[in-house]
């Protein structure tokens, strides 16, 4: 369907426009509203009226002006050139917008998402005359040093590849192949389009077995997430949600990161734009920006585009997943998305449910989170999307609707704690309120990497932390002085674990990111300390004496002093610990 006039503006209420005298419009069709041709989407049709949510500021929009239908749903362009880009919620490249309209975003500007001029080196892998299936990889483009962009037959298309372009440089609009199938003959280009609200197809779901290593000890060791998993990070303001999301985007071992800044601060996006092109990915030695796509719809940009932004982001992620990549999606924050939903729902005069949110909030949340997962792609490769959604509960109250509904659809919960943040204990992930249901899924992987020790070490430390939480209640009433040394050792070990292990300095060169091996060895040293110290105390040693051992300072500083490459050297520290405690204990033995 081509573009045509579908009606005219009848009523304007903020970002919602009611069009009148409407004919032949489709639900969720993309439209242009008014003389300024503001981008919008049809969200309700009744008789000859249609309701449109508009992705740009509607100031000055007048009734009686025309509404144009685009003949297709709101879609994104998928092709080389996405990586390293920064887009708004409806995939308009912000740098191009800036070049066209200056430092402030004005409205009614239409630009394509992908650069049509740029030429890409294309290398075909399919042969002319062969039968191809939907999702099959027919060629490659080197998109960045890091990522090879695999050109695929679009989903729902297949047949005989009549011809395919020879190796060479092509622009996006150049035809690189022709396909003959049931629907007739189709041209293939380096890019394809896909509607954002529909998940891209895959062959089957795969079980989760491999953890997404985030480099954050508290997460990987205590609350791991599997590749293809979904996590929610709830936290009131000032608890460091964005810091956690940034750290994950920087250091997690996904092939690709899609970062959705949804209704958040402008300066935070600027920080990412400033940091990522300079930071080096420790695994690949390349700049982080080469594996990152940013979607920025800051809090003061139009609210309807904020609603669309998470769909735009996840669709881009699915496209790279289909190539066989492991993608991590950070959505910061889904509460702002839910609020956009609430605002639009209110303007549509729908009946509200909890706290003014529409009744379909849980459905929409489920739809979004279900687009994550580990899959076998149409072309038979392994791909995954891990989604990490931040939630900003009002007043830090986790019983509010967005947190509660989200909890139903995710399997890991990283609760950020105000008290920890106040003491500047970062990441402020609460070890008591958080959980992960992926632990069992990834235990095998960890045990293989750590000589089968991970599971036991982990349960030892968790048991110490639980006993500490119980003891703390006693201490709050009577003070720590009355406890016997064996119990004070639990407090002491927990303290070491909190300060030397859980706390991680995102701004320290060595500590910002921690590889799996270092995490395991550090954990082992702390658990060993507890076992050995308990023995020494039983023999008659005192905790005060133990604390004076020189090796204790080494343990407190090990996160800073052993670089990731030198994680193996922690074995020597473990030996030193054993020796000094044994020596200490032998006085009494």
């Amino acid at each position: 369907m081509a573009e045509r006039v579908i009606g005219k503006v009848g009523r304007v209420v903020g970002p919602v426009v009611e069009a009148r005298e409407v004919a032949g419009v489709e639900m969720l069709e993309m439209v242009f509203v008014g003389d300024e041709r503001l981008v919008g989407e049809v969200v309700r049709i009744r008789g000859d009226a249609a309701w449109i949510q508009v992705y740009e500021d509607t100031t000055g929009l007048r009734p009686g002006t025309p509404v144009y239908g685009k003949g297709e749903p709101l879609s994104v362009e998928l092709g080389p050139g996405l990586l390293g880009g920064i887009y708004d919620g409806v995939q308009r490249p912000l740098d191009v917008l800036r070049a066209q309209s200056g430092d402030f975003i004005s409205k009614g500007i239409h630009v394509t998402a992908l650069d049509r001029e740029r030429r890409w080196e294309f290398e075909p892998v399919a042969e002319a005359g062969s039968e191809v299936f939907p999702g099959q990889i027919i060629g490659h483009v080197r998109e960045t040093e890091l990522i090879e962009h695999r050109i695929m037959v679009p989903p729902r298309m297949g047949g005989t590849l009549m011809d395919i372009a020879p190796p060479g440089e092509y622009a996006l609009e150049d035809v690189i192949g022709r396909l003959k199938g049931d629907g007739g003959e189709r041209e293939l280009k380096l890019y394809q389009k896909w509607p954002v609200r529909v998940g891209r197809p895959y062959k089957t779901r795969r079980p989760h077995t491999v953890p997404l290593i985030t480099g954050q000890r508290v997460l990987d060791t205590l609350f791991p997430v599997a590749r293809g998993g979904v996590v929610v990070v709830p936290g009131g303001f000032g608890t460091g949600k964005t810091m956690v999301q940034h750290a994950l985007a920087k250091w997690c071992d996904a092939d690709l990161v899609v970062y959705i800044g949804c209704g958040e601060r402008g300066n935070e996006m600027t920080e990412v734009l400033l940091d990522f092109p300079r930071l080096i990915d420790p695994r690949t030695g390349r700049y982080l920006m080469e594996r990152t796509i940013l979607i920025a719809n800051t809090s003061n940009m139009p609210v309807a585009a904020r609603e669309a932004s998470i769909y735009t982001g996840i669709t881009l992620a699915e496209y790279y997943r289909d190539m066989g990549y492991h993608v991590a999606v950070m959505a910061d924050s889904t509460s702002r998305w839910a609020e956009a939903l609430r605002e639009l729902s209110g303007r549509l005069e729908e009946m509200p449910a909890d706290e003014g949110f529409p009744a379909y909030l849980p459905t929409r949340l489920a739809e979004f989170y279900e687009r994550a997962g580990a899959v076998e792609t149409l072309s038979g490769a392994d791909g995954s999307i891990t989604t990490i959604g931040a939630v900003s509960p009002p007043g830090g109250d986790f019983s509010e609707p967005v947190t509660q509904h989200t909890k139903r659809f995710v399997r890991a919960f990283w609760a950020l704690d105000k008290q920890l943040a106040n003491a500047r204990h970062y990441p402020s992930v609460s070890w008591l309120a958080s959980y992960s249901e992926y632990t069992d899924d990834v235990t095998e992987w960890w045990d293989e990497t750590t000589n089968g020790e991970w599971k036991d070490l982990r349960s030892s430390i968790i048991s110490i932390m639980q006993r500490e939480a119980r003891l703390e209640r006693v201490v709050k009433l009577v003070g720590a002085d009355v406890l016997p040394d064996s119990q004070r050792l639990i407090l002491e070990t927990a303290n070491i674990f909190k300060n030397a292990f859980l706390q991680q300095n995102a701004f320290d060169e060595v500590d910002a990111f921690c590889v799996a091996e270092k995490q395991y060895r550090m954990l082992k040293i702390i658990v060993r300390f507890y076992d050995l110290a308990l023995e020494a105390i039983k023999k008659g040693g005192t905790l005060v004496g133990l604390k004076k051992l020189g090796v204790m300072r080494d343990i407190m500083q090990m996160k800073f002093e052993y670089a990731n490459e030198d994680a193996g050297k922690l074995e020597e520290l473990e030996k030193k610990l054993e020796e000094s405690i044994n020596e200490f204990g032998s006085i009494f033995g």
């Binding site: 006039v5 009848g10 009523r11 304007v12 903020g14 009611e18 009148r20 003389d35 500021d57 509607t58 100031t59 000055g60 007048r62 009734p63 009686g64 025309p66 920064i86 912000l94 740098d95 917008l97 800036r98 200056g102 430092d103 402030f104 975003i105 009131g236 303001f237 000032g238 209704g263 601060r265 402008g266 300066n267 600027t270 920080e271 734009l273 400033l274 920025a296 800051t298 809090s299 003061n300 609020e339 605002e343 209110g346 706290e355 003014g356 900003s392 009002p394 007043g395 830090g396 109250d397 106040n422 003491a423 500047r424 709050k476 009433l477 009577v478 003070g479 720590a480 002085d481 701004f507």
Partner: protein, 471 residues
């Protein structure tokens, strides 16, 4: 659509925009509804003229063919259905901006009330436009406010938005006056132009600020916008927008560094709630509209620095937390948008400590990039972190002491109590006209830490301890 029609539309609109309508359909609180008019634009300026000829300004809140809902900023008292005349201006509310706005006092809609002439200048849409995130420069220039609790632990940087969360009866007024007087960039030795938006504040409070600006000589670099407590509440919705439009002009066009003070944001939010309730919109928390977050963001996000332009906007909004409740929607949603918050604490204030800046809930998100070697001092980050950690421990021990009594505490806990007192009385506390340099602040921080033994200071490095501890 034919091309002829598209050419015709703007011309026809010009004629229509000069039309005046007599009679309105409905008056309800600050809102009036009209029917039988031409198709007017959304969010555009309206003039409502009462029987005496007085012109009141308003804005379209909702438009549909031949009808509009208008909010009247200057109240609807005295309006009659039959005789009220209405003109649609066909443009959004604009404020004339020029350097001449400095040194002047305006009402909440940007009209002078100091007896001077109307400012002449380029009319600018008060709604502003969102800054493209790719056009932003990341703020990292340290602003010395001369207040230890801010400079040392919650550092303000140029282009940041850092609100003050206060309570009724707490001395935010003095704190704001002190900051606007003392704030400067040390390396450039330059001060700030001040744009002040007073929303729903009392006459004497407004006079206090103006007197302060005059006494410190800041008035000639200040523009003051006042929508006082007795002005119609809806006017407050415009006041910060007018003020920010002026600030944006001074920053982007004149290259000035602007400090914007908006007080009190709670009054602003209440005006928003009033309109929303009047329109029977679906409320979210505590009757505030669901779009409160987006609306606040449209104000707070009008700050920062733009690449390759010399000026900047630093915001210091003030809000009072109803019943000192930080989880109330106004402070809560503000905290999610602003880059930190300075929280004032009643307990400290009652003990006579000024400024009563709460040690733990206060935070500056942009601090990390504005401090350290070359900006403040190399030990700043670790020192601040250690002060936070130690003070958090003091709070725990005080809670414990209130249960078991101070005598029962372990010796090390006693030193923490001593540290707590030193921190509050020597570091936090300072006088209203005391302007401490950053070195003084940091040295003071080390001095209060020296109460604790060296083994307790986990967050400082060996070198830092060697250089500064008990020196």
């Amino acid at each position: 659509m034919s091309s002829e029609a598209s050419l015709d539309r703007p011309r026809r609109r010009d004629l229509l925009d000069q039309r005046e309508y007599v009679g309105i359909e409905e008056i309800s609180g600050p809102i009036v509804a009209l029917r039988g008019i031409h198709d007017v634009g959304y969010n555009e300026l309206v003039e409502v003229i009462d029987g005496t000829g007085r012109v009141r300004l308003g804005m379209t809140l909702e438009v549909s063919s031949g009808a509009a809902v208008v909010q009247v900023f200057e109240g609807t008292s005295g309006l009659k259905l039959g005789s009220t005349r209405v003109r649609f201006r066909g443009e959004p509310l604009r404020m004339a901006v020029s350097p001449e706005v400095l040194g002047r006092v305006f009402d909440g809609l940007g009209r002078p009330i100091d007896g001077g002439p109307d400012p002449i200048g380029e009319p600018s849409d008060v709604n502003g436009l969102p800054i493209n995130p790719t056009a932003r420069e990341y703020p990292r220039e340290f602003i010395q406010t001369g207040i230890s609790a801010i400079d040392g632990m919650n550092t303000l940087v140029r282009g940041q938005k850092l609100p003050i969360f206060s309570g009724s009866g707490l001395p935010h007024m003095h704190l704001v006056a002190q900051v606007s007087r003392q704030a400067r960039i040390v390396s450039e030795d330059s001060g700030f132009a001040v744009v002040f938006a007073g929303m729903g504040i009392k006459h004497d409070e407004a006079m206090y600020y103006i007197r302060n600006f005059e006494e410190s000589g800041a008035m000639e670099r200040a523009a003051v916008f006042l929508s006082l407590a007795d002005a119609p509440s809806v006017e407050r919705l415009i006041t910060p927008r007018v003020a920010l439009t002026v600030a944006e002009y001074l920053a982007t066009e004149m290259g000035m560094h602007v400090l914007v003070i908006m007080t009190d944001m709670t009054n602003y939010c209440e005006a928003l709630r009033e309109i929303s309730t009047e329109r029977e919109e679906i409320p979210s928390r505590k009757g505030y509209p669901g779009y409160l977050y987006s609306d606040l963001a449209s104000l707070y996000e009008r700050s920062g620095i733009i690449k390759d332009r010399p000026g900047s906007i630093t915001q210091m909004p003030v809000l009072t937390m109803p019943n000192d409740d930080i989880s109330h929607p106004v402070p809560d949603l503000s905290g999610f948008i602003t880059e930190g918050q300075i929280v004032l604490e009643r307990d400290l204030s009652q003990r006579g400590i000024y400024p009563p800046i709460a040690g733990l809930p206060s935070l500056s998100r942009l601090m990390k990039d504005g401090i350290g070697e070359g900006m403040t001092r190399e030990d700043h980050a670790h020192l601040a972190s250690q002060l936070f950690a130690a003070y958090a421990h003091v709070k725990d021990i005080r809670a414990l002491a209130s249960v078991i009594g101070e005598e029962e505490l372990a010796p090390v806990d006693h030193t923490y109590l001593k540290f707590g007192d030193a921190f509050e009385n020597d570091f936090l506390s300072q006088s209203f006209d005391e302007d401490r340099s950053i070195e003084q602040t940091l040295d003071l921080g080390w001095k209060v830490l020296s109460v604790l033994s060296r083994e307790e200071l986990h967050r400082l490095t060996e070198e830092e301890l060697k250089k500064y501890y008990r020196k």
